[in-house]
């Protein structure tokens, strides 16, 4: 009989990027308000499986513990989310932990999400603030626009939208919702708009905006409730206009 005072965890582990994954189960005493991270910390202190076998501690990543950094993103009971806000009492047991499936595995629950960072670099997801000359103060941004930009700026590059996207796989180079949304954010900014064309052209190649299949799972799983599908349509609009511009005005 499962003890209600116990937490049962089933974890998919992998020792090295090139070795095969395997499953291990752990039993932990129940603690009030425990989350998945605190459970992983408990395992770290006493890494013994349910069968009593002493093993290496499970590797995972975390940082802020308040769902703003995105580093503890993993598959919990089959769906992608942050481990820090996954409260144990709200989860059916056994709690199944798997690393994200769309990124290369480093070890256990730790994955290499560099692809997202590379994509942000490709689309110049920043605003130029200085150079060899002073570009001066930026114009005042209307409050409504600021509020909209704030929503988009909440993206923490956690990768939930990409993990859940049927179009985003390990074998292709689809950029995915988070990147398109950042293009929108920086194009919205009056100073950022100076690089608008470069950003749009960066998402007009293979793996770019036109590859989106509109399954719209991204917006469903986004922990920050970012209007990703609106961003995709908006970038669709901007790139369509850019295409017409390239065809007829250049």
């Amino acid at each position: 009989m499962p003890d209600p005072k116990n937490i049962r965890l089933k974890i998919k582990r992998q020792d090295r990027p090139d070795t095969k994954p395997y499953w291990q189960e752990f039993n932990l005493p129940h603690k009030p308000l425990a989350n998945v991270i605190s459970c992983l910390m408990d395992i770290q202190m006493n890494p013994v499986t349910r069968q009593g076998q002493a093993v290496t501690p499970v590797v995972w990543e975390c940082n802020c513990l308040e769902e703003v950094c995105g580093s503890c993103t993993m598959n919990i009971n089959g769906k992608v989310r942050q481990a820090c806000t996954a409260l144990v009492d709200a989860l059916p047991q056994p709690i199944v932990l798997e690393p994200m499936s769309k990124f290369p595995i480093v070890r256990d629950l730790q994955v290499d999400r560099n692809r997202m960072f590379e994509n942000l670099k490709k689309v110049k997801a920043w605003i130029h603030i200085d150079g060899t000359y002073d570009i001066g103060e930026g114009p005042v941004i209307p409050e409504k626009q600021r509020a909209k930009a704030y929503l988009l700026s909440e993206c923490m590059t956690c990768g939930c939208c990409l993990e859940a996207c049927p179009q985003f796989t390990k074998d292709n180079d689809f950029m995915g919702a988070s990147t398109f949304s950042q293009v929108r954010l920086f194009n919205m900014h009056p100073t950022g708009a100076m690089e608008q064309e470069e950003r749009l052209e960066a998402v007009m190649g293979e793996g770019g905006i036109a590859d989106c299949g509109n399954a719209q799972v991204c917006v469903e799983v986004c922990p920050k409730k970012i209007p990703l599908t609106e961003s995709i349509a908006e970038i669709g609009r901007e790139t369509t206009l850019q295409l017409l511009k390239n065809l007829f005005l250049k």
């Binding site: 089959g78 769906k79 859940a164 049927p166 179009q167 796989t169 074998d171 292709n172 689809f174 052209e201 007009m204 190649g205 293979e206 770019g208 905006i209 036109a210 590859d211 989106c212 299949g213 509109n214 399954a215 719209q216 799972v217 917006v219 469903e220 799983v221 209007p227 599908t229 609106e230 995709i232 349509a233 908006e234 970038i235 669709g236 609009r237 901007e238 790139t239 369509t240 206009l241 295409l243 390239n246 065809l247 007829f248 005005l249 250049k250």
Partner: protein, 227 residues
């Protein structure tokens, strides 16, 4: 014309894939179902419509450039698009994710259905030299046979439903891809409007199937004395 980089060719091809689904393929589907539903109005208007279409000047060129080439392009791009994806609607059960799966599934069904449909209509029509005058009696006879059995009826019902769904849902995706519809509420409303439109097309198609199944036509030449 213009400056399109190598990377943008991929972008352009996907955009054209989206566009060809609407113009000319979607437009043709609407026209095709609408004209064929004349069968429910009466045999004569139906028979005349077929003869008129088959006597359009430069018909074969119209067919090649406005139907066959766009259709083949749309099909092969569609196969490519489906292959780079990894379906996950079992894990992430959201309505739009199911629509995404259905869009790919219906595309495949329509592709197979069209091979069958053209194999039983257009191919024998051209093969037997009935592609100019008096195409109607020949084609009506073919349709009589198609709808004589339940197998034939089911093939057409599935084919029509797949095509209308694929078009209605694809119209929605087209509007997003081209940035015509942007906001979440606009996307939702557009989806409802397009589905109603798809429903209307389905009714047209199903009514024609029903009419043929219930009342097969006595095949007579459109003009007396013609064979």
């Amino acid at each position: 014309m213009g400056s399109i980089s190598k990377g943008q060719v991929h972008f352009l091809l996907l955009k054209i894939h989206s566009l060809t689904g609407l113009v000319p393929i979607g437009l043709f589907l609407t026209f095709h179902l609408l004209v064929n539903s004349l069968r429910t109005v009466g045999v004569l208007p139906y028979q005349w419509s077929i003869d008129v279409i088959n006597n359009l000047p430069f018909l074969i060129w119209i067919e090649i450039f406005f139907i066959y080439i766009p259709l083949l392009f749309h099909s092969f791009m569609g196969i490519y698009i489906t292959q780079v994806a990894k379906l996950n609607a079992i894990r992430y059960r959201y309505p739009r994710n199911w629509m995404y799966v259905l869009q790919r599934l219906t595309g495949a069904v329509v592709f197979v259905f069209l091979i069958y449909h053209m194999g039983t209509t257009v191919a024998p029509k051209i093969w037997n030299g009935h592609h100019l005058f008096e195409a109607a009696p020949f084609l009506i006879d073919v349709m009589n046979q198609e709808f004589a059995t339940w197998t034939g009826r089911i093939i057409y019902l599935v084919g029509i439903l797949s095509a209308t769904f694929h078009f209605a849902n694809g119209l929605w995706a087209f509007c997003i891809s081209w940035g015509i519809i942007v906001g979440p509420r606009a996307q939702r409303n557009a989806s409802i409007v397009f589905m109603l439109f798809g429903g209307a097309l389905t009714v047209l198609g199903f009514a024609t199937v029903l009419e043929f199944s219930l009342h097969p036509v006595d095949v007579v030449p459109t003009f007396k004395g013609a064979s």
